[in-house]
Amino acid sequence: MSSILSVAFLSGLLIAALRMLPPLLLGATGEMFSERCGLTNIGLEGIMSVGAIMGFVASYFTQNPYLGMLAGIVSGLLVNMIYAFLTIQLNADQVIVGNAMNILGMALASLVYTTVSKSQSGQMQSVIADNYFVLGISLAAVVLIWFYLYKTKSGLAFRAVGEYPRAAETLGINIQKKKYLACCVNGILCGLAGAYLTNVYITSYVGGIVSGRGYIALAAVIFGKWKPRGVLLACTFFAFLDALQLRLQVADASIPYQFLQMLPYLCTLLALSFFMKPGSEPKANGKPYIREAR
């Protein structure tokens, strides 16, 4: 027990948590932004996978991790346009489309990796980028999105779309434009989150590298009550749990680390069921907006 409370352990934990934070925070912020406009996207895991592989391949060939991250951003944006088109243009069911995005993203990542690695000899490696660079970007993203949502007129309109799109439309707000904006931002942030994993977190690619981070990000949005500050706190908490869990696996095998892995989901479920006031969620979240319907 004493080894757990030592200064070295705690500082190590802090550093590890800061390494875990950016992908969670980027994904959760993007998802929060998307849900504030009424679009629940459970396909984060898939988008992150695409960002991870494209970011890795670009970084490997250019030997520049920042170009790699740019590739992750662009690919995340592009792949999320499938979701955008189907849910915004065709009003398709968001959960089903999101689910298919996960299947597509993971399959695409595996396909690209096997195809590229077959043509290359030896172990493929990307170049490591600065950890705090991406952490800075993700914190900036939270602040910017907070500013947009709460301090600008356009942000007010954006939130109105997520609460009551019919009223928003009668005020002359272009609903589709706002929703496409939501999807673009979400795709960009998730793409970067994926590219972070293959350019900062580790410098190679392994199958399933996203390993559920997309789903933890979804939980963080709910746990953070769909608010920037809440999401930031939720992500920090979950990142600490993740870091702690990994350290305990190494330090002390007698503690069942699976329960720590479970905690983000359990906390969110309990909070949602018993402690959260109803009405935190944007009212039109997850519902397609059909203009012709009454």
Binding site: L86, D93, L111, I222, Y265
Partner: protein
């Protein structure tokens, strides 16, 4: 009479056209990876249907897909949009693994039957929790089942790593199911077991309950319009919980059958996303139990075929998943077009012309 043919035809048209379109996209993707698509597809066909052994393997893979597809179908028909079948499957399977180990000295048939009931019960409880949270605490079932999937995954991970771990093995896994309790093999020399009959029977029962009983009609009434159902004296909350319990029981059954018939032990990767595939199966089967069976067989063929394609060519088997996701996109888009605009507009035009 014309409607009696046109309606089911319209329903079949969307998934079939979607599958064809997705396969065509698959051709482009395979060519992009620098391989010969026609060669790859022919190996895929041979892999799925080439020999008796392959066809049997196809049915083995189809068993969990049929069952998870049915679990999703039942819940969706009752208006509950669960994505929690994975969690129910793994909870059912882990309970079954405990049961089979605890009672391994009893006669095989007793153990197998008791095991299936245990798995179904635990799956039902796991599902009913999400149903109760929806009915009584207004927790969105998509969110709660998603969270509960991960809780189940890590709980099962702990259980097969510590309390239920096989003593003699180095990697975390449960004890192998005793031979007497395993499901009998149907075709000698293959892995095809009685589970396929159980799955098909289950599809028939779900169909019968949903469409031929008053009980099923009430479930569907809740699914179609909860307010109207409430006004007609149906206890909507009770039916929500019950529909998740039934869905969970089928999910638990899927896990138990997979344990007793195919994998015999639980270790990392036991579940292999069968629950998520079940959503696709249910959707492509147009939320119809018989459609789910057909869709599951199609997915199984795609899976088995792509695995042997990977062995014979340079094309990775993940192409099957890409095709699968494309089918979902096309079915979703197609159904929306059929329901909302396309056919309605046509019918409206036709009506106008007839009037004139």
């Amino acid at each position: 009479m014309k409607d009696a043919i046109a309606k089911p035809l319209k329903k079949i048209a969307v998934p079939v056209i979607s599958a064809v379109a997705a396969m065509i996209i698959g051709i482009f993707v395979i060519e992009l990876t620098g391989n010969n698509a026609m060669e790859a597809y022919s190996y895929m066909m041979r892999g799925a249907f080439g020999s008796m052994n392959n066809i049997c393997e196809l049915f083995v893979i189809a068993v969990p897909l049929i069952l998870t597809g049915l679990a999703v179908t039942f819940a969706y028909r009752s208006g509950v949009f669960t994505i929690g079948v994975d969690g129910q499957l793994i909870m059912g399977a882990i309970a079954a693994a405990w049961f089979v180990d605890a009672f391994k000295n009893m006669p095989g048939v007793v153990v197998a039957v008791g095991d299936i009931l245990t798995g179904m019960l635990v799956g039902a409880i796991w599902g009913a929790i999400a149903g109760a949270l929806k009915a009584y605490r207004k927790v969105n079932e998509i969110v709660s089942t998603l969270l509960m999937n991960y809780i189940a995954l890590y709980l099962a991970d702990y259980l097969y790593t510590v309390p239920l771990a096989a003593e003699s093995s180095k990697i975390p896994q449960t004890e192998k199911v005793v031979e007497t309790a395993r499901l009998p093999i149907l075709v000698g020399g293959t892995r095809l077991h009685v589970g396929i009959i159980i799955a098909l029977l289950c599809a028939a029962i779900v169909y019968y309950v949903l469409y031929k009983t008053a009980w099923g009609a009430k479930f569907r009434a809740v699914g179609m319009n909860a307010v109207a159902a409430e006004c007609n004296g149906i206890n909507v909350k009770k039916y929500m919980v019950a529909s998740m319990a039934v869905s969970g029981a089928i999910g638990g059954l899927a896990g138990t059958i997979e344990l007793l018939g195919t994998q015999y032990r639980i270790q990392s990767g036991f579940c292999a996303d069968y629950g998520f595939d079940g959503i696709a199966v249910a959707l492509i089967g147009q939320l119809n139990p018989i459609g789910a069976v057909l869709a599951a067989l199609f997915f199984a063929a795609l899976n088995v075929g792509s695995n042997s394609m990977e062995l014979m060519t340079n094309v990775p088997s993940s192409i099957a998943d890409i095709i699968q996701s494309m089918i979902i996109f096309f079915v979703v888009a197609g159904s929306v077009l059929v329901e909302r605009n396309f056919f309605k507009k046509l019918a409206w035009k036709k009506g106008k012309e007839e009037k004139e």
